[in-house]
C-alpha cells in the first residue's frame, strides 16, 4: 500500500512497533488501529468506513439493535448508516408526505412502497456490502447503508480519523469505503497485520479506489 513518503516507511515501522509495545503495556488484548482517511488530494475524508476483515476467518458478528433511518425534511437521516450483517433497520417516515423507499443494490434490493409513519416490518440487511437507498418520489433523497461483516469497523470523523479499538492481533484486510466510490468499483482492500501495538494508518481514496 503506497504511503505518501517513502522515507516515512522506516519511521512508521518504528512508530508501529512502539505503539504496539505501548499498547501491549496498557491494554490487555487488542490493539487500536487509527486510520487517517484522506481523498485523492489529501484532504481529510469524513464518513468513510473502515472494516478490518480477518484473513481466512470470520469473526462472529452481532446484529445491531435499534438501527433506523428516519425520513424527515425529505431527507434520510442519517445519510450513512453502518450496520453489521443481519441488522434490521427501521425506516420511520416523519414527513407529512409519503415516501417510497427503494434500493436496487445487490447487497439489498427492497422496496417499501408508499407509506407514511412507521412501516410494519424492518428491513433486514442480511448480506455484507453497500446498499444505496433512494426514494422513488423524491429524487434528492439518498442514503447509504454499509453492511459490515466484521465487528471491527469504524467510521471516520470530520478530522478523517477512523479508530478501530481492541483489535486482536492477526492478519487483516483493511476494507475502506466511501460514498465517493462508484458502485461498480471493487472493494478497496489493504492488507494489514495487527500486532500488539497500535497502528496508525493513512489511506487516500480516489473515485476509482485507493490512491497510492
Amino acid at each position: 500500500m503506497p504511503i505518501r513518503n517513502p522515507r516515512l516507511a522506516p519511521m512508521l515501522a518504528r512508530l508501529a512497533s512502539l505503539a504496539l509495545l505501548s499498547l501491549a503495556a496498557t491494554v490487555a488484548q487488542g490493539a487500536n488501529v487509527d486510520v487517517l482517511l484522506g481523498d485523492a488530494a489529501g484532504n481529510p475524508l469524513t464518513d468513510a468506513v473502515v472494516m478490518l476483515e480477518p484473513v481466512g476467518a470470520r469473526l462472529p458478528v452481532k446484529p445491531l439493535q435499534g438501527a433506523q433511518i428516519v425520513q424527515h425534511d425529505l431527507q434520510f437521516d442519517p445519510p450513512l448508516t453502518v450496520v453489521t450483517t443481519g441488522t434490521a433497520v427501521m425506516f420511520p417516515n416523519q414527513d407529512t408526505v409519503k415516501h417510497h423507499v427503494y434500493s436496487y443494490s445487490p447487497a439489498k434490493t427492497f422496496q417499501i412502497k408508499l407509506y407514511a409513519g412507521v412501516p410494519h416490518t424492518p428491513i433486514v440487511f442480511d448480506k455484507p456490502g453497500v446498499a444505496v437507498l433512494g426514494c422513488n418520489i423524491h429524487d434528492g433523497m439518498i442514503a447509504w447503508v454499509v453492511v459490515s461483516d466484521t465487528p471491527l469497523w469504524a467510521r471516520s470523523a470530520p478530522g478523517g480519523h477512523a479508530k478501530v479499538v481492541d483489535v486482536p492481533p492477526g492478519s487483516y484486510q483493511l476494507h475502506v469505503w466511501h460514498a465517493s466510490l462508484a458502485e461498480t468499483t471493487p472493494p478497496q482492500l489493504l492488507p494489514l497485520t495487527v500486532g500488539a501495538a497500535d497502528i496508525d494508518q493513512r489511506v487516500r481514496l480516489g473515485a476509482g479506489g485507493l490512491v497510492k
Binding site: 436496487y104 434490493t109 444505496v132 422513488n136 439518498i142
Partner: protein
C-alpha cells in the same frame, strides 16, 4: 376670324394643362421611384434583422424539441415502473425487454424520436426501440456521455446516417447513476413544416465532416437548385459573424443568416444552419400598395387635369377678352372700356395697359381728326373738311328743297393767290406764312353769315362755301373778296400786294355733286387768273371737259392732221421809215362746218390741255417753211412766233426748234419769239434757262403784252430780251388817258435805256402813229396798218403797202388793208 381663335384657345389652355399633367406624372413617377427605392432599401435593410430573428426562432425550435425530449426522457427515467423493470433482478430478461421497449415506444412518440435506447454504465446498448438509425449508437452515446457526466444530460446536433439528428442523453438514476437513456430526434419534414409555418423562412442545414471539406446538404426546405447554390458558398466563422449574406442564385438573391455549430461529434462534424429568404420577394412592393399608388395617380391625373384646365381658362378667357377688345380698337371702337381692369394680377395689369392704350388712342384719334380736317397754319378747315362741308351743304339744300319746296342754292368760290410762290422766294417762307394767315383773316372778315365757311385748300389756294346763295350773290361776294384783298397786306416791315383769281360755281346750276362743284369752281378760277378780269363764274365754254369743248378739242387735234390750220401774218412796221420789218405769225382754224373758229375759242383750251405746244410747233414750222418764199419775194423779214408758258417749260424746245430750222434751212435770227410776262413769271428759273438756250441759238426774244403782268425788273434785266411789246390797252388809251400816255412813254424810255427795241401794239389811228413816232417808239403793229392775213396774201399786201404807207400818219380814216 373665329376659326383661328378657336384653335388658339384649344392650344394654350390645353398646353398649360398638358404641361402640368406632364409635371404631375413626372412627380408621381419620381415619387414612385423614390418609394420603390426606399421600400427596397428598407425591406432589404430590415431583412438581416429578420433573418437573425428567424435564426433565433430556429434555435428555439431546435431547443424546444430537445427540451421536450429531455423532459420526456427524464420523466421516463424517473418512472418507478421502468426503474423497477430495468433493475429488478427477479424479472426475466424477455419480459424486461418487452416492457422496456414498449415503454420506450411511447417515449419515442412523445419525443418525436426515431430511436430510443438504454445503455448501461459501461455504455453498452441494452435495450432499444426498432432500429431506424444504422450508425453505431454506442459510439454516439460514448461521446455524449462525457458531456453528460459533466452537466447531467447531453444534447447535440450530429450527423447520424449522414442526416442531421438531435441526440439527447439523460441519466438513469436509481438513485445513483445506473445507466443512460439515449434519444435520437431527426430533423425531418415535420420539423421543416413547423419552421416554415412559424417563420416563412427557408431553413437549410449544411454539414461537413472536416474543417475544410465542402458542405453537403443535410436538410433543406429550399428547392434543390437553390440549396445547391447555398452549399457552394464558403460558410465559416466570418459568414456567421455577418448579419446577412446575399447569395446570388437562380436569377434571384437569397438573404442568408448563418449560424455555425461545429467541431464536435465523431469526426469533427460542423453544421451551418442557414435561414434564408428570397430578397426578390422581400423587396417587391405588395400588390395592394401598388394598386393604391396607381389608383392615386389616376385620381391625381383626373383632378389635376381638371384643376389645371380651370386655372388655365382663368388665364385664357381674359386673354381672349383682350383679343376681342383689341379687335374692337382695330375697328375704331374706342368707347368700350376693358374688362378685368380691377384684377390685381398680371391679367389685370395687361387689361389696365390696354385700357390706357384705348384712352390714348381715342385721344389720338381726336387729334388725328383735327389734323386731318384743319389746317395747322391758318386754323381754317382743310381740303378734306371743306369737301365734307360742301357735301353736307348740298345735302342740306337738297333736303330743304325736298321738304320745304324751297329753291336753295349752294355756291363755292375758289381763289388762288397770284404769284404766291414768288413771295415765298423773295421774302421767305416766314413772310409767306404770314401772308397766308393775313389773307385767311381778310377772307373770314369778308364773310358775313354763319354757315359760310372759308377753308385753306392747299398752298395758296382758298375755298369759300356760301349756303343759300345763287350765282349773282356769289359774284357780289367774290367782288367783295377782291376788294378786301386790294389793300396791301402789312406784315411787319413788308407791305405785300396780293391779288387772287376767283372762280365761282353753284349747285345745282353748274354741278350736281360736291366733287363736280369743286372741279368747276377750279376751272372758273383758272379762267379768272388767265383773263385777269375779275371773278369768273363757271360756264360750260370754259370747261375743257364739257361735252362741246371735248369735241372741239378732239377736232382741234385732228385739225393739224386735216390741214385745217392756217398761218396768218400781221405786219410789224418801223415807225421811222414805215418799212415792213417783220410779221407776227398767228394760227387760224378753218373748221369745215363752223368756218373760221375764233382763236379765243380754241387757244385757251389748247393752253389748258397742253396742246398749245403742238400749235406752237405748227406755227413755227409753217413760218419756217414760208420764210424762204417770202425772202424770194424780197421780204427778208423777222417772223415773230408766240410761245406759251408750256413751251417755255419744255427744256427740249430749243432742240425741237433747231431741228425745224435745219429742216427748212432758215436761220434762227430770222425769228423772234414772243413771250408774255406772266408766262415767264410762272417759273422764272426754267423760263430763263430755256430762253438763254434759245437766245444762244440766235433767236430774238420779245416780251409780249408788256405792262399787263407782274414782272420783276430784276428778272427782266437778266432775260436775253431783244424787244418789248407795249400792251395794246395802253396804246389804245394813250391819247385819252394821261397815265396811259405816261406809261407808254416811260416804257419806251425804259426799253431804250435797257438797249432793247420797243413795239407798240394796237395802233388803230394815225394820231397814235404820230404820237408813237414822237415818243421815239421803234415799231408799231395794229389794225390801222394791217390786220392778220393769210400768209399767201402777205406778199401782195407788202407790195400794196408801198403805196399806202404814205398815209399812215394821217389822222383821218384808217387805211384799209
Amino acid at each position: 376670324m373665329s376659326a383661328p381663335r378657336h384653335r388658339w384657345r384649344g392650344s394654350l389652355a390645353a398646353r398649360i394643362a398638358l404641361v402640368f399633367l406632364v409635371l404631375l406624372l413626372a412627380v408621381q413617377l419620381a415619387s414612385f421611384a423614390a418609394l420603390r427605392l426606399s421600400w427596397t432599401s428598407h425591406r432589404r435593410g430590415e431583412l438581416p434583422k429578420r433573418l437573425e430573428t428567424g435564426c433565433k426562432l430556429l434555435q428555439t425550435l431546435l431547443d424546444q424539441r430537445v427540451d421536450a425530449a429531455i423532459e420526456v426522457g427524464r420523466a421516463t427515467a424517473k418512472d418507478n415502473a421502468i426503474r423497477g423493470t430495468l433493475f429488478d433482478t427477479e424479472v426475466d430478461e424477455a419480459t424486461k425487454r418487452r416492457t422496456i421497449v414498449s415503454a420506450f415506444g411511447s417515449l419515442k412518440e412523445r419525443a418525436k424520436a426515431s430511436d430510443v435506447a438504454f445503455l448501461d454504465m459501461a455504455g453498452t446498448v441494452l435495450y432499444r426501440t426498432e432500429p431506424v438509425i444504422r450508425d453505431d449508437l454506442a459510439a454516439i452515446a460514448t461521446y455524449l456521455r462525457s458531456k453528460a457526466l459533466a452537466s447531467g444530460s447531453a444534447r447535440e446536433l450530429m450527423l447520424v446516417d449522414r442526416k442531421p439528428y438531435q441526440l439527447v442523453l439523460v441519466p438513469e438514476l436509481a438513485p445513483v447513476l445506473r445507466g443512460w437513456i439515449l434519444l435520437a430526434i431527426p430533423l425531418d419534414d415535420t420539423f421543416k413544416g413547423d419552421m416554415k409555418r412559424l417563420s416563412e423562412f427557408d431553413v437549410t442545414v449544411l454539414a461537413r465532416t472536416a474543417p475544410r471539406a465542402p458542405w453537403t446538404i443535410a436538410s433543406t426546405t429550399l428547392s434543390p437548385a437553390f440549396a445547391a447554390d447555398l452549399a457552394e458558398q464558403p460558410w465559416g466563422a466570418d459568414a456567421a459573424a455577418q448579419a446577412m449574406v446575399a447569395v446570388p442564385t437562380q436569377g434571384d438573391e437569397l438573404g442568408v443568416h448563418a449560424t455555425m455549430t461545429g467541431g464536435f461529434g465523431p469526426g469533427d462534424t460542423s453544421f451551418a444552419l442557414l435561414v434564408s429568404e428570397s430578397i426578390g420577394d422581400v423587396v417587391r412592393l405588395p400588390e395592394d400598395l401598388r394598386m393604391a399608388l396607381i389608383g392615386i395617380t389616376i385620381l391625381a391625373i383626373v383632378v389635376f387635369g381638371a384643376g389645371s384646365l380651370v386655372t388655365a381658362r382663368r388665364i385664357t378667357t381674359p386673354l381672349r377678352g383682350l383679343a376681342k377688345a383689341a379687335e374692337r380698337l382695330g375697328e375704331g371702337d374706342y368707347a368700350t372700356p376693358m374688362r378685368n381692369v380691377a384684377r390685381e394680377d398680371e391679367v389685370g395689369a395687361l387689361s389696365q395697359a390696354f385700357e390706357r392704350m384705348r384712352v390714348s388712342i381715342g385721344e389720338n384719334q381726336v387729334q388725328v381728326l383735327r389734323l386731318a380736317y384743319w389746317d395747322g397754319l391758318t386754323g381754317l378747315p382743310n381740303r378734306a373738311r371743306f369737301r365734307e362741308l360742301v357735301g353736307d351743304a348740298i345735302r342740306d339744300a337738297a333736303d330743304r328743297r325736298l321738304a320745304d319746296g324751297v329753291e336753295s342754292s349752294v355756291a363755292v368760290l375758289l381763289l388762288d393767290l397770284d404769284r404766291f410762290k414768288h413771295v415765298n422766294d423773295v421774302l421767305g417762307y416766314a413772310v409767306g406764312d404770314k401772308v397766308l394767315v393775313a389773307v385767311a383773316e381778310r377772307l373770314a372778315r369778308a364773310l358775313a353769315r354763319d354757315g359760310d365757311v372759308v377753308a385753306r385748300l392747299s398752298g395758296d389756294r382758298f375755298g369759300v362755301l356760301l349756303q343759300r346763295t345763287d350765282a349773282q350773290q356769289a359774284h357780289a361776294v367774290a367782288l367783295r373778296i377782291e376788294q378786301a384783298l386790294e389793300n396791301p397786306l402789312a406784315l411787319g416791315e413788308h407791305k405785300v400786294d396780293m391779288g387772287a383769281g376767283v372762280g365761282i360755281a353753284c349747285w345745282p346750276s353748274h354741278a350736281d355733286s360736291d366733287d363736280a362743284l369743286l372741279v368747276r369752281a377750279e376751272m372758273a378760277m383758272y379762267a379768272a387768273k388767265q383773263r385777269s378780269d375779275g371773278p369768273v363764274t363757271y360756264d360750260p365754254s370754259i370747261d375743257a371737259t364739257s361735252a362741246q369743248t371735248l369735241t372741239l378739242i378732239s377736232e382741234l387735234r385732228q385739225a393739224v392732221d386735216r390741214n385745217e390750220l392756217r398761218l396768218y401774218l400781221q405786219p410789224k412796221l418801223a415807225l421811222e421809215d414805215r418799212g415792213v420789218i417783220g410779221a407776227e405769225a398767228l394760227v387760224r382754224w378753218q373748221h369745215p362746218t363752223r368756218g373760221l373758229v375764233p382763236p379765243a375759242q380754241f387757244i385757251p383750251f389748247a393752253e389748258q390741255t397742253g396742246f398749245i405746244r403742238h400749235l406752237t410747233m405748227w406755227v413755227f414750222e409753217e413760218a419756217a417753211r414760208h420764210w424762204q418764199a417770202l425772202a424770194d419775194d424780197g421780204l427778208e423779214i423777222v417772223l415773230s412766233v408766240n410761245l406759251s408758258t408750256r413751251d417755255l417749260l419744255d427744256l427740249d424746245l430749243p432742240h425741237k426748234f433747231g431741228v425745224l430750222l435745219a429742216r427748212h434751212q432758215v436761220a434762227a435770227a430770222s425769228f423772234c419769239l414772243e413771250i408774255t410776262e406772266s408766262a415767264i413769271m410762272d417759273d422764272p428759273q426754267r423760263a430763263l434757262s430755256t430762253l438763254d438756250a434759245l437766245s444762244a441759238m440766235g433767236f430774238k426774244l420779245s416780251i409780249d403784252d408788256f405792262g399787263t403782268g407782274y414782272s420783276s425788273l430784276a428778272y427782266l434785266k437778266r432775260l436775253p430780251v431783244d424787244e418789248l411789246k407795249i400792251d395794246q390797252s395802253f396804246v389804245r388809251n394813250m391819247q385819252a388817258d394821261r397815265d396811259d400816255e405816261m406809261i407808254v412813254r416811260s416804257t419806251i424810255d425804259l426799253a431804250h435805256n435797257l438797249g432793247i427795241t420797243v413795239v407798240a401794239e394796237g395802233v388803230e389811228s394815225g394820231a397814235a402813229w404820230n404820237l408813237l413816232r414822237e415818243f421815239k417808239c421803234d415799231q408799231a403793229q395794229g389794225y390801222h396798218m394791217g390786220r392778220p392775213m393769210p400768209v399767201a396774201e402777205f406778199s401782195a399786201w407788202c407790195e400794196g403797202w408801198g403805196m399806202r404807207r404814205l398815209a399812215v400818219d394821217s389822222e383821218s380814216a384808217p387805211l384799209l388793208h
